[in-house]
Every structure is written in C-alpha cells, then in structure tokens.
Subunit: 162 residues, 2 copies
Amino acid sequence: MEIRTATLADWAQIWPFFDAIVRARETYAYPADLTSDQARGLWLQPPPDHAVVAVADGEVLGSAKMGPNRPGAGSHIGTASFMVDPSRSGRGVGRRLAEYMIDWHRRNGFHGIQFNAVVETNTAAVHLWQQLGFTIIGTVPEAYDHREHGLVGLHVMYLPLG
Amino acid sequence: MEIRTATLADWAQIWPFFDAIVRARETYAYPADLTSDQARGLWLQPPPDHAVVAVADGEVLGSAKMGPNRPGAGSHIGTASFMVDPSRSGRGVGRRLAEYMIDWHRRNGFHGIQFNAVVETNTAAVHLWQQLGFTIIGTVPEAYDHREHGLVGLHVMYLPLG
C-alpha cells in the first residue's frame, strides 16, 4: 500500500466510495445531494490543503484530506477528513492514512490536530484516534442525525504535536 | 435599537468595524488579509443562513450572522458569529443581537446552537453566552494566536433548545 498525493485523475475512483459513505449517513455531515463536481471541489483543495490516496495494485483504497483547521490566528492547528472504501475496510487503510496525516502535520510545523466532528457511534474511528494519541475535548450532544441510531453526539478530538 | 435583516447596502457600515475586529486578532480567526468583497461574501450568505444588523438612528452598531453549523446530518444545530462596533460597545448591542439569534434558531426549529471557537480570553463574550444558558463543552488548548496574549484556548460552547 502506497500513500501519495491525490490527483484529479484519482477522483473517478474516490467518488463512488465518497458518495456511498455520505449517503450511509453514519460518519459525515456533507449535504446529502452533493454532486461529484461539488464533492471534488471540497476534497481536492489547493494548498495549504493537501489530499492523498492510499493505493495498492493501482486501485484507490481510501483518501484523506488535511490542512489548517482555521485561517489566520487559528492556522497553526490542523484538521483532516478520511474516506476509506467500505469494501476495503479492515486492511489498515485508515491507520496508514492517519499515520501519514500526523506526520504531514509535524513536517509542516502545525502545533496540533483538531477533529471537529467525530460521530460518537463511529467507535472504530474513535478508538483509532485514541490509539494515535488523540483525546476527546468534549462532545456536543445529539448533534448528528445518524441514519440508524438517530441523534448522537459529535466529539471534538485533539492531538498536540510536541 | 432595532434588529433587522442585513442588506447589501448595510455592508459599507459593517465593513469598517468588521475589518478592525479581524485586524485586532483578539476574537476571530479570519484570514488577516481579507478584502471587503471576500468578507461580505462570508458574512452575507444566502438562506438557510441569515444576517442581521442592530441599528439606532440609522447607524449600524453591530451585526450577526447565523445558520446551520453543518450541512446534511448536522443541520439541526445552528451557529452564529457577532461583530459589534468597538466604538459602540457597552450599550448592550451584543446581548440584543444574541437574544435575537437564540429566538431565530427557536423559530426555525433548530435543536441547539453551537459556537465552534470562542476565544477563552474574550471573557465578555464567554460570560454573555453563559448568562444566556450556553455551557463550555470543551476547550482546545492554545488553538488561537492572540495578538496580545499569545496562544490561548478556543471554547466549544453549546445551548440546547428544548
């Protein structure tokens, strides 16, 4: 598995699982009727943002985007989002993307990484972030309308980069 | 003092204090080199967002914008931002705008209101939100580069609307 910068040519492979993940309404709060063009614009943004893909045998298994969480006086804290093809889960794709993401923030001088909205029922993700050193700063109650579980909390999570 | 919907014609009166507040780097993390046109685009957004001004004797004393904090599965939680002309502070403009903002969210069926990034040294704002029922969900440490105090925390604050 290789992690490399995402290109426009990768989008055709990213969009099917991106769309499936948004429609599943279990992990992300994107507009439900997002088009491929709109999603590509949100995901593949110019610097200082950065998007990568995890690739094996020429196939895109997952993707991550990262960059400053806020502009100006907040730009020393990074953030990131992850999409892993559900049919490729359990192969460590999320962990590899996450490790790359943390290293990218370190290399680029960020002081820490903040996740603004981790769905509390997405326990696989919560546990992965905790294993990587993130802590839960707080939880906004009932802030996410989960397709299966109804209103569930959104964690704010944070990793300081020493 | 009247609270009414902001119009494009109000921008000429909003921009001078908006710009002064961003440049002061004490309360908001906007890009430091934001132009008037860019700021107007961020502040006066189409529905479901909503922007208002507080006006007395034809003069704009402050402005607030509000709307869903997230799209899709997060759109039942609102958020808001406030800019009060520093030369008009201490006249209750912020409180009037805040009370309007809470009522607007109630009328539009929101379940709660989340502030994503309240600078912890902005104690006047923090106390006002607490007086209005907001609680601090958590604080991201050193996430804001304050011109005077250096790196200070950003509170996530929340008010449930019963």
